[in-house]
């Protein structure tokens, strides 16, 4: 952007309402032309039909829309798609590797950590980023890491247990996490 050489009209002229974006979602590259007011949540669910990412408030108060951006959890409802340019997004659909479920997915299923299942995608992704960073977290660490995702069904107990179980399995020497 050429700054104040031509003054006001210049910046105003450069302000955009639509922009091209390249992003990598679950390993798949996309090139899109999106309105700047479109959030990543809307792009994922409505443009890319990746409906595994949920929503419960759209204003940062529930955590349902959590996805990983370059491996870190963010709220897709408060992320502009244009700002994801060149970055890597992981959604729940991207947790499987080569047809094999992620150990967290197996643990959630086996331990009963999913009831209505609506918070499960966000819980899984948040837990994944925790385990990537800290392979054998304490219960307090798990509680802290998952504290941005509400769940109305489980009382969180089986979710914590599932994360602990996945951590154990991923830490086991014979595992191929």
């Amino acid at each position: 952007m050429a700054a104040d050489l031509t003054g006001r009209s210049n910046t105003v002229a450069e302000a955009t309402t639509k922009a091209p974006v390249r992003l990598l979602v679950n390993g798949q590259p996309y090139e899109l032309l999106v309105p700047v007011h479109r959030t990543l949540l809307e792009t994922l669910r409505e443009d890319l039909q990746l409906t595994g990412t949920k929503h419960g408030c759209e204003v940062g108060e529930c955590g349902m829309c959590t996805v990983l951006l370059d491996g870190e959890p963010v709220l897709s409802c408060l992320t502009l798609t244009v700002e994801v340019e060149g970055r890597t997004v992981t959604t729940v659909e991207g947790l499987e590797r080569g047809g094999e479920l992620h150990p967290l997915q197996k643990a959630f299923a086996q331990m009963g950590a999913t009831q209505c299942g609506y918070c499960t995608p966000a819980m899984l992704l948040t837990a994944k980023s925790l385990l990537d960073r800290s392979p054998s977290p304490s219960e307090d660490e798990i509680r802290e890491a998952l504290s941005g995702v509400l769940c109305r069904c489980t009382g969180y107990i089986k979710i914590i247990a599932a994360v602990e179980m996945a951590a154990r399995q991923m830490g086991a020497p014979d595992s191929v996490a």
Binding site: M1, T39, P73, L78
Partner: protein
């Protein structure tokens, strides 16, 4: 789904460009960093900027430099996670780490920035509501029509027709300062470096604020917070106590930050105490802090300081928890914060 209103997007790639973009676009422009305050408010139509100037591509706002001896320089664009997990912050400025870690949730802290936190809008439960809700209320002074913010002081209608809903006769808005970072930084004696169209200036963090729920920042619309400067830590003890309903998500409805250091003979050498959540700006409690200086910790001293904070604060009934409860807790939290920093000698 709540969706964003339309706007025009500007993405400058340097601080200078960002400032001139803001100046160019005029009062209809708003900077956005992490967007964790801006986007929810836009979705609720509390903010309706015509232009959004994104700070995400501004390299000068990134990074944390320095150490505990020289002091730390924190780029305003650092995420809250970056700040709270920085080893020097954790070890030497624990009050700041504690305050930042108490902000909402880990996932939100991955997005929100320290600069955005300092400029966080004031809050009120007649105002932080959706468009239909506020329409049903009949609006309020701070957002007097569906057109929403931002409104520069000069753009505000001289005769404001819509009353404040908390204090209907009041000529001003009483929305509440709600940043956790601000009081922690104030207690630590931090300064902010501001960069604007007319150059830059460095001011103590506390001087960023005005006691007005609508126009709560002492800075021009095109001025940006570029950096936060923390003084050398030497021997500083600091902490932060936050009142909220739940252990995550919730804003402070009372926040008490204390920083102090002790002489070799165990007397308080200096102390600063800042309180948020009880007025439209975070308050530096100078008088209360003065009581500490030169004194040895004792339960009586702590009680006197707690009283000196408790008595003057006047929260209103526009946040979670009853206002009288928040006032009462101000005393309790000050006492507990001091007891934490001063150890057994201060405990009753």
């Amino acid at each position: 789904m709540l969706r964003l209103p339309r706007f025009q997007y500007v993405r400058p790639s340097s601080l200078r460009e960002a400032v001139s973009a803001l100046a160019d676009c005029g009062p209809q422009a708003m900077p956005v960093a992490g967007g964790t305050d801006v986007y929810p408010k836009m979705k609720r139509r509390q903010f309706l900027p015509r232009y959004l100037v994104s700070l995400q591509g501004v390299p000068e706002l990134k990074g944390i430099r320095g150490d505990e001896r020289a002091g730390l320089v924190i780029g305003a664009g650092c995420t809250l996670t970056e700040v709270a997990s920085h080893p020097v912050v954790r070890r030497f400025y624990p009050g700041l780490a504690k305050a930042i870690e108490s902000i909402s949730t880990p996932v939100l802290r991955n997005m929100g920035t320290i600069g955005g936190n300092l400029c966080l809008d004031t809050r009120c439960n007649y105002y932080d509501q959706t468009l239909p809700w506020r329409a049903a209320l009949g609006w309020c002074m701070k957002a007097p029509d569906p057109g929403g913010w931002p409104m520069a002081p000069e753009a505000a209608p001289a005769e404001n027709q819509v009353p404040c809903r908390v204090a209907p006769g009041s000529p001003r808005c009483w929305a509440v300062a709600s940043s956790d970072g601000a009081p922690a930084l104030m207690a630590l004696g931090a300064q902010a470096r501001l960069v604007g169209p007319r150059g830059e200036r460095v001011v103590p963090v506390g001087e960023l604020y005005r006691d007005d729920g609508m126009f709560f920042l002492e800075k021009s619309q095109a001025e940006l917070v570029a950096e936060v400067l923390l003084p050398p830590a030497d021997g500083t003890r600091s902490t932060y106590w936050k009142l909220r309903r739940r252990g995550a998500f919730d804003f402070p409805v009372l926040g008490v930050a204390v920083a102090l250091s002790l002489d070799t003979d165990g007397r308080v050498a200096w102390a600063r105490l800042a309180v948020t959540g009880v007025a439209s700006r975070p308050l530096l409690m100078d008088e209360a802090a003065r009581l500490l200086v030169g004194q040895k910790p004792s339960p009586e001293l702590v009680e006197a300081v707690a009283q000196a904070v408790y008595l003057p604060v006047r929260p209103l009934d526009n946040t979670d928890f009853a206002h009288y409860y928040r006032k009462r807790m101000a005393g309790v939290y000050v006492r507990r914060a001091l007891q934490e920093l001063l150890g057994p000698a201060a405990a009753a």
